[in-house]
């Protein structure tokens, strides 16, 4: 119909908008991560921290911060997983090491991934991990146990009113059959630093 032809331009523009918005829906996924990373919303802690400025490690003796550790197993994750100490007091600027204990309680080899989340989320920018077992996956033989290290330093710029930081780890089974193929998909590339929905 001649009539329909005259509408082609409008229709193409609108179809373009439709496809654009469909793509935007998917773009929200990485945007969401970027947004959370920039703003520190969501308790996503940062990746490995390189000490480039020696001043970071000058200890501020005047203040003490309580750092608490909590652990969760994701559903169907049978491992034993707990912090060796539940809470320590540190001075800002003090490089501190703590251990987490994990044991594969099953009779097969399994791979696990721990995902961190810090609360309150405002503290995220001031909590630097120089080393963390969460940067890698953990592979344990049947009944094997392991002590996993975390080294961190609390930034001296930490706002005064933040006196307690709680770091939570959730342990995920990486070879869970229903996520068997997830390793290949782009969604999981940034796996280390994703947040956990344990609220």
């Amino acid at each position: 119909m001649a009539q329909e032809k005259s509408h082609n331009k409008t229709v193409y523009k609108l179809l373009f908008a439709v496809i654009g918005m469909f793509a935007f829906g998917f773009a929200l996924v990485p945007l969401y991560d970027v947004f959370c990373e920039i703003t520190g919303i969501n308790g996503k802690t940062q990746g490995r921290y390189e000490v480039t400025d020696a001043k970071v490690l000058e200890v501020d003796e005047s203040r003490e911060v309580r750092v608490q550790f909590i652990t969760h197993n994701n559903e169907n994750m049978p491992w034993e997983f707990r912090p060796v100490v539940a809470e320590i007091k540190v001075h800002p600027g003090e490089l501190t090491s703590v251990d987490f204990y994990a044991k594969n309680t099953t009779s097969r080899t399994m791979t696990a991934q721990a995902v961190p989340s810090l609360s309150p989320s405002r503290g995220v920018d001031y909590f630097h991990k120089t080393e963390c077992f969460c940067f890698n996956q953990q592979k344990l033989e049947a009944q094997e146990e392991v002590l996993m290290p975390l080294r961190f330093v609390v930034d001296k710029a930490l706002p005064d009113e933040l006196k307690v930081l709680t770091l939570s780890y959730t342990l995920f089974d990486q070879k869970n059959p229903d996520q068997a193929s997830s390793g290949e998909l782009p969604m999981t590339f940034t796996i280390n630093e994703q947040s956990v929905a344990t609220r």
Binding site: H7, A17, G25, L28, Q179, Q194
Partner: protein
């Protein structure tokens, strides 16, 4: 509704490629490209869905009549709440407005038909299949979707019944249908207005639909995207919403509500348009503040994109997020207030009469405002921690949707039905319909405010004893409201079959192109465009 259109005079000059009247039998409805036929089909379909979704609501209310589990299993209860919500939103309210758009927009802008008549046929006929797919899940193993109309992950992914796949395809089809409908509306309005019909002369119903159509184009694809991600999580091992694989269930809520909040305006803006047509007619005064009405609708639409997280105050947002979404949400109340002010100012010192369309419109203004106020209460982030996921939210959105969207649709049907079928409806019966609906609806939903404030959670099949009284009142109201709608069905059929002949203008104070053509509207109208001064 257009049964009598068969016999309608068709004395307009026709261009060669158009038919001279409707085809006979079922083929007319299957293959029609006529905007009036398609409009009628949309409206009938919507009414069927309204009754189906209504039966589900009554099942819910029957179970909640008393504390304890009496009639249905909790699992089935969840399927009922889910399907009720989905059917009412996507099957009743949205198609009804598309039906009105089909009937009215060409007649209001002086166009012979919708811009893309064949696509129009498609966008309607997809719908029955989409809903057949959705409703058929009730009879499948594992039962229908049970995760609520908001289908939050992981309830709708990790823990979903197998039928979730049918749900996803159903939503895809509804999305395609709405998008095609929206494209059609925009093309019609932008390209097919009669000479002289400038944008700022368009009736408000046309304006609100133009803006609604843009909202649809913007957010239906996002909805399609989010269900596609669910599909991939369920079947292809991705982890968009699965924390175990690096995804985030909270992100589901963000994407869903990015669609969801504009969606609630998709359901109310056309009703704003309807009421803005009706109130001036029965006040015998022009609409107060036409320009501000148009700008208000535009700003509501734009603001609706930046308030979505008011549905998520309790997920653990940082303070800044809570504040931003709280103030942005409250900001929407300003243009909404402008509209309410203008409707009231239109009535002020008018010579009012209270025929059924006007009664529904006045009830719309009053009761929608109550819903707006409860919305404002919910928008206060610190108090929302108390109200969230309680019956207070249920009360809020039913106050904006039932006397808002649904009363808007009733008002529109009474107002234009004489134009569509050529007969006046029975005013006495229509008043009965209004008052019974009004009483039933308030009985059903007003007590829910108190229940919510007292702490009754939503989406539960059983409740603590202290909520018993308000719940039983609410159930009585719901059955009254539901039964009354059969009266409406009877009334509409009666009007199509018989009744006093309507004049061309139908209502004494009515203005606009649609009132210049004969009643009933001929099968083809405005084949030669009218001149608008």
């Amino acid at each position: 509704m257009s049964a009598t259109v068969d016999t309608a005079l068709d004395n307009n000059t026709q261009s060669d490629h158009e038919h001279h009247g409707p085809a006979k039998g079922i083929a007319r409805w299957l293959f029609t490209t006529n905007h009036k036929d398609i409009g009628s089909m949309y409206l009938w379909f919507s009414f069927a869905m309204f009754l189906l979704g209504g039966c589900m609501a009554l099942t819910i209310r029957a179970e909640l009549f008393q504390p304890g589990l009496q009639l249905i299993e909790p699992e089935f209860f969840n399927q009922m709440t889910t399907l009720h919500g989905l059917i009412m939103v996507f099957g009743a309210v949205m198609p009804a407005f598309v039906g009105l758009a089909n009937w009215l927009i060409p007649m209001m802008v002086g166009a012979p038909d919708m811009a893309l008549p064949r696509m129009n046929n498609w966008s309607f006929w997809i719908l029955p299949f989409a809903f057949a797919l959705l409703v058929s899940t009730l009879f499948m193993e594992g039962g229908a979707p049970n995760f609520g109309w908001t289908f939050y992950a992981p309830l709708s992914t990790t823990y979903a019944p197998d039928t979730v796949t049918y749900f996803i395809f159903g939503v895809h089809m509804m999305g395609v249908s709405s998008i095609m409908g929206a494209i059609n509306v925009i093309a019609t309005i932008l390209n097919m207005r009669a000479p002289g019909m400038t944008l700022m002369k368009m009736p408000l119903f046309v304006w609100t639909w133009l803006i609604t159509a843009f909202l649809l184009i913007a957010v239906m694809p996002v909805l399609a995207g989010v269900v596609t991600m669910m599909l991939m999580d369920v079947h292809f091992g991705t982890s968009f919403f699965n924390a175990a694989g690096g995804g985030d269930p909270v992100m589901f809520q963000h994407i869903f509500w990015f669609f969801g909040h504009p969606e609630v305006y998709i359901m109310i803006l056309p009703a704003f348009g309807v009421v803005s047509q009706i109130i001036p007619t029965f006040s015998r005064k022009p609409l107060f503040g036409y320009h501000s009405m148009v700008y208000a609708v535009g700003s509501i639409a734009i603001l609706s994109f930046i308030v979505w997280a008011h549905h998520m105050f309790t997920v653990g947002m940082p303070l800044f997020g809570e504040l931003f979404f709280m103030y942005a949400t409250m900001l929407i109340a300003v243009p909404t207030g402008v509209k309410v002010f203008n409707w009231i100012a239109t009535m002020f010192r008018g010579s009012l009469t209270f025929e059924a369309p006007m009664l529904f419109s006045i009830a719309f203004v009053v009761l929608f405002t109550i819903g707006g106020f409860s919305g404002l209460m919910l928008a206060i982030a610190p108090s929302d921690f108390q109200y969230h996921d309680t019956y207070f939210v249920v009360a809020h959105f039913h106050y904006v949707l039932v006397p808002g969207a649904i009363f808007g649709i009733f008002a529109a049907v009474y107002y234009w039905l004489p134009k569509w079928c050529g007969n006046m409806y029975d005013e006495a019966l229509a008043k009965w319909h209004f008052w019974l609906s009004f009483v039933g609806m308030n009985l059903a939903f007003f007590p829910m405010h108190f229940l919510g404030l007292a702490g009754m959670p939503r989406r539960i099949p059983d409740y603590a004893l202290q909520f018993a009284d308000f719940n039983s009142i609410s159930t009585v109201g719901a059955f009254l409201f539901g039964a009354t709608q059969l009266l409406f069905l009877y009334l509409v059929i009666k009007t199509i079959r018989s009744g006093e002949k309507a004049t061309d203008q139908v209502w004494e104070g009515a203005e606009g192109l649609e009132w210049t053509i004969p009643s009933p509207a001929p099968y083809h109208t405005f084949s030669t465009p009218p001149e608008v001064k």
